[in-house]
Amino acid sequence: MRQSQRRNLIKLGVASAVAAAVPPGAFAQQKKYDPGANDREIKIGNINPYSGPASAYGAIGKAIGAYFDKINAEGGINGRRIKYITLDDGYNPAKTVEMTRKLVEEEEVLLVFQPLGTPPNSAIHKYMNQKRVPQLFVATGATKWGDPKNFPWTMGWQPNYQSEGRIYAAHLLETRPGGKVGILMQNDDYGKDYVKGFKDGLGDKAKAMIVSEVTYEVTDPTVDSQMVTLKASGADVFFNVTTPKFAAQAIKKAAEIGWKPLHYLNSVSNAAGSVMVPAGAENGIGIVSAFYLKDPTDPQWQNSPEYKEWAAWMARYNPQASLKDNFNVYGYTVAQSLVQVLRQAGNDLTRANVMKQAASLDLASPMLLPGIRVKTGPDDFFPIEQEQLARWDGKTWVLFGKIYGK
């Protein structure tokens, strides 16, 4: 870290020398700045759990930094370098508050980018909006981040749980409109978000189609009895809204009791390594789930120029990270969205303009699935709402069908 700071300083020196050499007026007129931006650099803050129980997510924070290194090496954004300050909160909301205040009040960043996790973001939601500092592209799928009326300084990025729920509903109506649906959901905001989206998607038919809806608590040891209840209800469609441990249990139990419904698995738990394989790869055959990023282990992408560019960036700027880790695709892609926002902002680097530009995006990104776009509007604070479905074939997820969502 020290070393990279020194390197940054040297680069900064070079950059400022270059800036001094460029005659004034070479940049467009009317430069406007808020704290964290000037002629030479843009300060971006980030918070990730580099320590603690959720430290696997720390890969995202590092990947974002590595992408900004690439942007800086290529001359920065409109001639300005990105200064990326990323801090560790250990997934502890109290620590998130402290670190956010450090970023906003001491480091004086232009914006806070991609803080991770629903509880940490909830802890700073009000603060960021009171301070009028962008809390941009938060790394959580809760639906509450897209509320421009009450929280105009906060925006999500990844598909939110409700829109994903609607996608499963759309597919269900197309393929099995007479299906009898059983739902297993975690009894909290995350579970309710998914089920609300699903029911909204089914519309009037929701009441007739859903025959059973059972919940479990995070504190429950297993979901075995819930699975038995669902099978007994006569459902032939299963909407599985569970976190990884319970998802694996549910898949295993369904196989044990010989229940073979059309099985929709929420994307929270569609990782091969932590869910599908532990559940028994054979048990999961036929399960349907939603995706929006290219899986770096999927052979169909590995000869594409987009993948090669990503792999070249990995090799040059993020060499210690794993080429199999989806988080490196995620970090790369979300950083590209921010770079686009800052490009659009031009020389008006105020916090208000950052939010305005973030709310007028329409962009394709190389590692998003083909056809999926990052789209926002003044009333649409949900950047990615499109996903494609994939079916588990016992070894990998195989994409099929059209792109769902708007």
Binding site: M1, R2, Y50, S51, G52, P53, G58, G61, K62, T86, L87, D88, G90, Y91, N92, P93, A94, V97, E98, R101, K102, V104, E105, E106, T118, P119, P120, S122, A123, H125, K126, Y127, N187, D188, D189, Y190, E217, V218, T219, Q320
Partner: protein
């Protein structure tokens, strides 16, 4: 524990006269009062956290340092205090200052009850039993029957209290954080004075006697079960007050804020500051607040490894904690002619 002369023993040994001591205390008070106006808001917020941790560590020290009962469950009491304050403010609109006494009372009761199993368990077994408490509480807080109160996984977002009056000093206004700094400082001082009075008298001697030789202590007529349970209750009450203040200062509570790791952090604070030392709690608090941040600045890949190195070096250089080092230096000086 010889009879104290007119000047306090510490001051007398350092060769300070009473006026000099008074001047020193006055200077300390002035520094404490103007410090928040010299730094940014964010630093003030960190000072508040240090004060809060100091009270929590002091609470744990009463139990572990003075009474010799190891607890890995103090994050649970911290959480109960925090949730007590948060629910009072959020549900009933209670003012922030009114939450401290109920938090203390609730945690005292909770801790006193926890003290009963502690009577049958000693040493490592007690540590494990209390660890179970620390593990259980964050999950229980998510329980759906009480979700209407606790806010479940999402926690409770609070509003920071506005200062009742405002003025400027060195160009910095008395804002929410600076006001809370004075509130926290006041509460901290009260808690330290309470602890001082408790531990420097008969009760303190009884607690230490139980720690050093329970059988002898019993033979001398000390009511072991009562003292041990009360120590647990008082310790929990201190930590609960700290938890309530943390809810006010952070303005957010969620189960993830009170993981069992927080208990271990408190224990680190107690040991670094110095077992059975009242002022040591402040140093312990400074350590647990700032060293993780330093570790994070050094390495993003292995912040905890760096933290571990700090801790090992620290313990090697100061085996008795900061307070222990202070005592050693002090003895050396007073032994010299």
């Amino acid at each position: 524990m010889s009879a104290a002369p007119a000047t306090s023993p510490a001051a007398a040994a350092r060769g300070l006269s009473r006026p000099a001591l008074a001047a020193l205390v006055a200077a300390g008070v002035v520094v404490l009062c103007i410090a928040p106006f010299l730094v940014k808001n964010y630093r003030v917020f960190q000072f508040n956290l240090v004060l809060i941790y100091a009270v929590a560590i002091l609470g744990l020290n009463i139990l572990t340092g003075y009474n010799g009962q190891i607890s890995l469950g103090h994050s649970a009491f911290f959480a109960v205090g925090a949730y007590c304050a948060a629910i009072m403010m959020d549900r009933w609109g209670a003012p922030y200052w009114s939450t401290l006494v109920p938090a203390a009372a609730l945690c005292f009761a909770f801790g006193f009850l926890m003290g009963f199993p502690a009577l049958r368990l000693g040493g490592h077994y007690l540590a494990l039993a209390t660890l179970a408490l620390a593990l259980a509480v964050p999950q229980l807080l998510k329980y759906k029957k009480i979700e209407a109160w606790t806010g479940g996984v999402q926690g409770i977002v609070l509003t920071k209290p506005e200062p009742p009056f405002t003025f400027e000093l060195f160009g910095s206004p008395l804002n929410q954080d600076r006001w809370l700094y004075f509130v926290t400082l006041g509460v901290t001082i009260v808690m330290f004075v309470l602890a001082w009075n408790l531990l420097r008298g008969r009760v303190g001697r009884a607690l230490i006697a139980i720690r050093d030789h329970p059988i002898a202590a019993g033979a001398m007529g000390i009511n072991l079960p009562l003292y041990k349970s009360t120590a647990f209750g008082v310790s929990a009450a201190f930590t609960g007050v700290a938890g309530a203040m943390s809810a006010v200062v952070v303005a957010f509570v969620a189960p993830d804020s009170f993981s069992s790791f927080l208990s271990i952090t408190f224990l680190v604070g107690v040991v670094v500051g110095g077992l059975a030392s009242i002022p040591g709690a402040v140093f312990g608090a400074i350590f647990i607040q700032f060293v993780p941040n330093i570790a994070d600045q050094i390495s993003k890949s292995a912040p905890w490894a760096i933290y571990g190195v700090f801790l090992i070096v620290f313990m090697y250089v100061m085996p008795g904690g900061v307070a222990g080092l202070g005592q050693r230096l002090f003895r050396r000086r007073s032994a010299a002619p």
